[in-house]
Amino acid sequence: MRRRRNQVTIAAVAFALGLLVVVQLRTQASGAAFAGLSSQDLTVLVANLNARNDQLRREVATLDRELTTIDSNRQRGDASIDELRADLQRVRLYAGSEAANGTGVLIMIRGPIDGSAIEDLVNELRNAGAEAMAVGGIRLVPGTVAIGAPGKVTLDGRTVADPVELDAIGPTEKLTGSLTRSGGLIAQLAATQPDVAVEVTPVDRLVVPATDRNLVPVNGHPRL
């Protein structure tokens, strides 16, 4: 009888031990991917991943069509000049080598803003879907950075005078909402830099110039 009771006790402990090993392994496996994200963070992440995947699917469809056209042109002996020109314009527009127009927001910044705060605004606008931007008439491309102390901002070595005009082409409502929402960047700026006033105006047609920077690296070569 006593021997049987011991066996039952050992069996119960072994069961609990096995259960905990499984739970521990599952926790480590699933938690490792998104460690530290709360449910709210995960909801934001899922929304971002969904939006990005939709964009990627559209890009796959565009590239698929392009490849089909080029292939069929080649089979007919045509050179696909129209497709090459369209592709060139599409890529140059994205890169910032072509001037762009479209709907968007005009942001007037008055007062002694610093370079880092302008970069924060630009980052927020990009996250909200801005497609082409210019600060003080200078097109923003990789390598163009607003730097400097309050009231002494330069961009590509050129001084940006007060008031600073930031033009952003993109989804007007989303761009406006991202900046003006409660607790958003403009509210944060008002708290940290009270001398700076930021005004956001939706515009039907904005024009941003092409960059005058050389965007092809001289210290690297393509890895084709």
Partner: protein, 261 residues
């Protein structure tokens, strides 16, 4: 007298039970420890969201691979026409330059790699724990400092920085090009051979090291390999709101107000 002689007098089942309970205690402690500072959320409410995010992330990787494959095939097909008319050769050369400018072509060359990782220091009683973690602002500042020092192309982990890139916080991790990245963050920059010299001479870089590494223990390290490799941007370059603005020289001449009068 053997000091451990008493063990031989203990029934073997009790020893087994003791060992099992010891293991049980260890596992309970491990389970609690794994829900430490960075993981403090119940798995019940997170589980479906983690599953969804995992599926979406896998889809994203698949779509990115598809895009890179399609771009490679389009490029190869276009280049196959390169032997034909001069206009096609010229367009192909322009297209390659435009794709390099847009970050659509992987690059190799001289440069540096900066790594940012969370602090290992204990959080001070009156401090905010997030100050001890690498945030989007740290990564953005480092990227901006690298551009200012003369970098010509930059990637954070496997995400290439392009004209549309945003870097934002998501909990204690970051999103770059809407891709989820967790620390350590490796920022690879292509640039002149003296890129690190220029970077370390920048007051902004010195301020960043002082404010984040020296104050909170954020771990900053760098490497100057023989050559750095930057991945291609595997995202969309098709703009929906921005359209090409006709250049003034290309526009047809407008008739003057007095013309035809």
């Amino acid at each position: 007298m053997n000091p451990l002689g008493w063990i031989s007098r203990v029934p073997s089942w009790q020893l087994t039970l003791f060992a099992a309970l010891l293991g049980l205690g260890f596992l309970v402690a491990a389970q609690l420890a794994s829900e430490g500072p960075r993981v403090r959320y119940t798995s019940q409410e997170r589980s479906p969201l983690v599953d969804t995010a995992t599926v979406l992330q896998a889809q994203q990787e698949q779509l990115k691979a598809q895009i890179l494959d399609l771009r490679g095939r389009i490029g190869a097909t276009e280049q196959a026409d390169a032997g034909s008319a001069a206009v096609v050769r010229d367009l192909n050369a322009q297209l390659l330059a435009a794709r390099i400018a847009a970050g659509l072509i992987p690059l190799s060359g001289s440069g540096i790699v900066i790594q940012l990782d969370d602090s290992l220091q204990p959080v001070a009683a009156d401090a905010n724990q997030s100050d001890y973690l690498v945030g989007a602002r740290d990564v953005r500042t480092m990227v901006e400092e690298l551009w200012s020092a003369g970098a010509e192309a930059i990637a954070v982990n496997d995400e290439r920085i392009t004209p549309s890139t945003s870097i934002i916080d998501i909990g204690p991790s970051i999103l770059v090009n809407s891709a989820y990245l967790a620390p350590p963050y490796q920022i690879t920059a292509l640039g002149p051979k003296d890129l690190y010299g220029r970077l370390s001479a920048s007051p902004g870089f010195v301020d960043l090291i002082r404010a984040r590494a020296q104050t909170y223990g954020i771990r900053v390290s760098f490497a100057e390999p023989e050559s750095v490799n930057l991945p291609a941007f595997a995202g969309t370059v098709t703009l929906r709101y921005a359209h090409p603005e006709p250049s003034p020289s290309a526009a047809p001449a407008a008739p003057s107000a007095s013309a035809g009068g």
